[in-house]
Amino acid sequence: MWLGISLTAVALIAGVIIGLNVPLFIPQIYGKYLGIAILAAIDSVFGGVRAGMEERFDNAIFVSGFVSNTLLAAGLVFIGDRLGVELYTAAVVAFGVRLFQNLAAIRRKLIKK
């Protein structure tokens, strides 16, 4: 358990450090897509944490959910832009709601322990 937490934390910090030092630059126009992708990723992570607490964590579901949610969210925003519809808002609302549901589930689990 603690090995998993520490490994995750180390990986997160490593990602942050690399992200800060890599001279990768994304144009502002695509910032919107990246933002919604990050929201989807956070949602997936909280979903994974919740699944882990409920003892029904599946590695394949977690990874595939992370990847597909991220790409789908960015793709949805892209299509919305092309169609002139603000699908961005829809994605933000959907992921936001799921995020809070997952957080609520985690909170209940922690308190009931």
Binding site: A11, I18, G19, L24, Q28, G31, A41
Partner: protein
């Protein structure tokens, strides 16, 4: 379970990477970045301005063509006007002209050529010259000069005392009338039977008609000032 841990760690790594990059992009100073809406707005404006610029450039090209055409037209008009002016100057007799024509020499009969005559029995009068000139005009002469005096629209040939005045200049015998036109036609108009040459000879004056390939006729030397005559304007005519 190591694989499970690795997967979670990988996801955490990617998440950290994404968040940092996004934070860096979003955290840029506002001077360097522009909101997406503003970018679209500016792009649209740029496109509009480019279209406007292309349109204006096209218009400028068309106008330049028009200017060039107008300039060309002006030059042509000026050339046409010059030709017109030259034509009317020739018609008015203000330029010396050269061309084929005839030369008519008229002289009084020499004194004493007939028995019992001391003086001229017959002196060439203004009417005789007028007749000759009239005949020449009638035969299609384009320019006529009498003793170097170009005949213009206001020229007179009249007797003043015992001399003849042309263009207010006194001329003395022998009289030389030069005319430009078809030499054959002019000569035959004078030489016609019962015509002016025959009449002059009958009166005893000599009348010598020479056809020439080139004769020179000087310009009118007086001034043409219209003091009383005014052209009639279109609206006054009715």
């Amino acid at each position: 379970m190591p694989t499970r841990l690795y997967a979670v760690a990988l996801v955490a790594f990617v998440l950290g990477l994404l968040i940092t990059v996004q934070a860096r992009v979003a955290g840029q100073p506002p001077g360097e970045i522009l909101p997406a809406a503003r970018v679209q707005e500016l792009t649209a404006e740029l496109r509009r301005l480019e279209e406007a610029s292309a349109g204006l450039r096209r218009e400028a090209g068309e106008l330049e063509q028009k200017i060039a055409a107008a300039k060309q037209g002006q030059t042509q008009a000026r050339a046409a006007l010059q030709t017109e002016i030259e034509k009317y100057r020739i018609q008015a007799g203000l330029v010396p002209v050269v061309g084929p024509g005839v030369e008519v020499m008229i002289h009084n009969m020499p004194a004493g050529s007939l028995p019992g005559t001391e003086q001229y029995v017959f002196a060439v009068r203004d009417e005789d010259l007028l007749r000759v000139v009239n005949e020449l005009w009638g035969a299609g002469a384009e320019a006529i000069a009498v003793n170097g005096q170009r005949l213009v629209s206001t020229s007179e040939i009249r007797l003043a005392g015992t001399f003849i005045d042309v263009n207010l200049q006194r001329i003395t015998p022998p009289y030389t009338i030069v005319a430009i036109g078809d030499p054959d036609v002019l000569a035959s108009a004078l030489e016609i039977e019962g015509g002016v040459a025959e009449m002059l000879r009958a009166f005893g004056a000599s009348c010598l008609i020479k056809k020439k390939d080139t004769v020179r006729i000087p310009a009118y030397e007086g001034t043409m000032a219209f003091q009383y005559a005014r052209p009639i304007k279109e609206e006054v005519r009715g």
